[in-house]
Amino acid sequence: MSVTVRIPTPLRKITNGADKVSVSGSSISEVLEELEKEFSGFQARIYDENKQLRSFVNIYINGEDIRFLDGLDSNTKSGDEVSIVPAVAGGN
């Protein structure tokens, strides 16, 4: 029972270089709790002081932005792929 989390470059120093980590958790916030247990300081990088996602952090479950789901409460199930991606501008 685990989800795979893709780790972006800015967070790989915390994950000892790992670009993919498998953790358990039935929601995004639980997944992030698990990541914190394994890699101390993980949450401080992506949460602001009010424990909200920082404005330039986007999280996706199987490619869908969690802001179109239930945010941090979005459900995760075994086999899901979670991506943490910095907001990047493009276009005009």
Partner: protein, 409 residues
């Protein structure tokens, strides 16, 4: 001589060295190039710029690349046209069109891409890549060809044919992705983490973004070293809007122009207007949307520079306007029929928004107003092809007279 200092996080102001990185490790904020403005103001004069080449490289001191590596296919110093006919129709005496649809690959994207290609060579990259809503991929492929680099361009499926052909001709590897721009953007952000490629609008983004400042520089120089009263700028990610403003402010900061009191207005299509919605609701963050618009070059539902565009709007007393979808083609036609300029959908969005700003009295008749036309109509012919009408006659005088009545000429 380069005046570049370092990269700085736009959110927490942490500094980073000049490397192909775009995200702050501490807060995930975007990184931006900073310069030694004191040095620039001591050595750069109006005369020095005026005597430079008639392209973006005349503003080299404000750009983050070494002059030795520049790749030039003739980008920049595009016409600033006094739009008397359209102005008369709208009730504006000093309306100007910045026609950036006549760059080498027919959009303003040549500006950021020229800078990025030069920087990619400095970093010794062999491959240029991008995520594109259409215009960018043509520009990346063209510059890669000139720089003898390989290119890979990613775009959302269902893009206009003219944009796909307009890129493929330069020989890139084209990758159509099932999804919208935001899906492609996410994929490429993840790819850029693991590939040693210069993704122009991902890992090279801080340098890329600087290119759009040159639109601000040019407009001020072309107006006789004066900032306009109003700019009307199309927005997808919101980056262009903030960078034109940055260009105007930099010119004032180093003393090239006296003052900047420009209102920076922002235009989005109604079917994808997350920045406009945040502006109307007086929010500082943008809630993403799923795009549904014919203006595909502006179809970014999750605009990463949205918060900065909102800041710029506030700082400059600008307004954000959504153009109704049905007005986009009509306004493409309006610009063509009044000023002889054939723009793509983003330009239709700009003209529709300009009209609304005048109607709502946000722009006064005497104000110097610049509408930014950033892409070429030949790339999005689909949206106007239904309006095409023409006569077919036999090669006889009579046949001609049957369709054209002389008293109406």
């Amino acid at each position: 001589m380069s005046y570049i200092k370092n990269l700085t996080c736009k959110q927490c102001f942490n500094n980073y060295p000049i490397e192909p990185i775009n995200v702050c490790e501490l807060c995930f904020g975007p990184l931006e190039v900073t310069y030694d403005y004191e040095k620039i103001s001591k050595s750069v004069t109006r005369n020095l710029i005026s005597s430079g080449p008639l392209n973006i490289w005349r503003y080299h001191p404000f750009l983050p690349v070494s002059i030795d590596n520049i790749i030039d296919i003739g980008t920049g110093f595009t016409p600033l046209i006094h739009a008397k006919n359209l102005g008369e129709l709208l009730g504006l005496k000093n309306l100007y069109i910045k026609n950036d649809s006549v760059n080498p690959s027919y959009s303003f994207k040549d500006r950021p891409v020229a800078i990025t290609t030069a920087k990619a060579l400095e970093f010794d990259f062999k491959v240029l890549a991008c995520v594109s809503t259409g215009n960018l991929m043509g520009s990346v492929a063209a510059h890669a060809a000139k720089a003898k680099m390989k290119s890979y361009v990613f775009f959302p499926a269902g893009l206009e044919k003219g944009k796909i052909i307009g890129a493929s001709i330069y020989g890139p590897t084209l990758i159509s992705v099932d999804g919208n721009y935001d899906d492609v953007n996410r994929l490429c952000s993840e790819l850029a983490d693991n590939l040693k490629w210069a993704f122009v609008n991902v890992n090279m983004r801080p340098y890329y973004a600087e290119g759009s400042k040159t639109l601000g520089f040019e407009v001020a120089e072309q107006l006789g070293w004066k900032a306009p009263d109003h700019c009307v700028v199309p927005a997808a990610s919101g980056e262009l809007h903030t960078k034109i403003w940055k260009g105007l402010v930099e010119m004032k900061d180093v003393g090239l122009i006296e003052k900047v009191k420009t209102s920076m207005h922002l235009a989005q299509p109604e079917g994808c207007s997350p920045i406009v919605k945040a502006f109307i609701n007086e929010e500082s963050q943008v809630t993403p949307v799923k795009p549904d618009t014919i203006a595909k070059s502006l179809a970014i539902g999750n605009p990463a520079s949205g918060p900065f565009a909102l800041q710029t709007l506030k700082e400059t007393s600008g307004h954000a306007v959504a153009a109704p979808e049905k007005e986009i083609s009509e306004c493409i036609q309006l610009l063509a029929e009044t000023e002889g300029i054939f723009t793509e959908t983003a330009g239709g969005v700009v003209i529709s928004s300009l009209r609304k700003l005048v109607k709502n009295k946000k722009i006064n008749p005497d104000d110097v107003t610049v509408a930014f036309i950033t892409g070429n109509g030949l790339k999005t012919q689909e949206v106007v092809e239904d309006s095409v009408e023409y006569n077919n006659i036999k090669p006889t005088y009579k046949s001609f007279e049957e369709i054209i009545k002389f008293d109406t000429i």
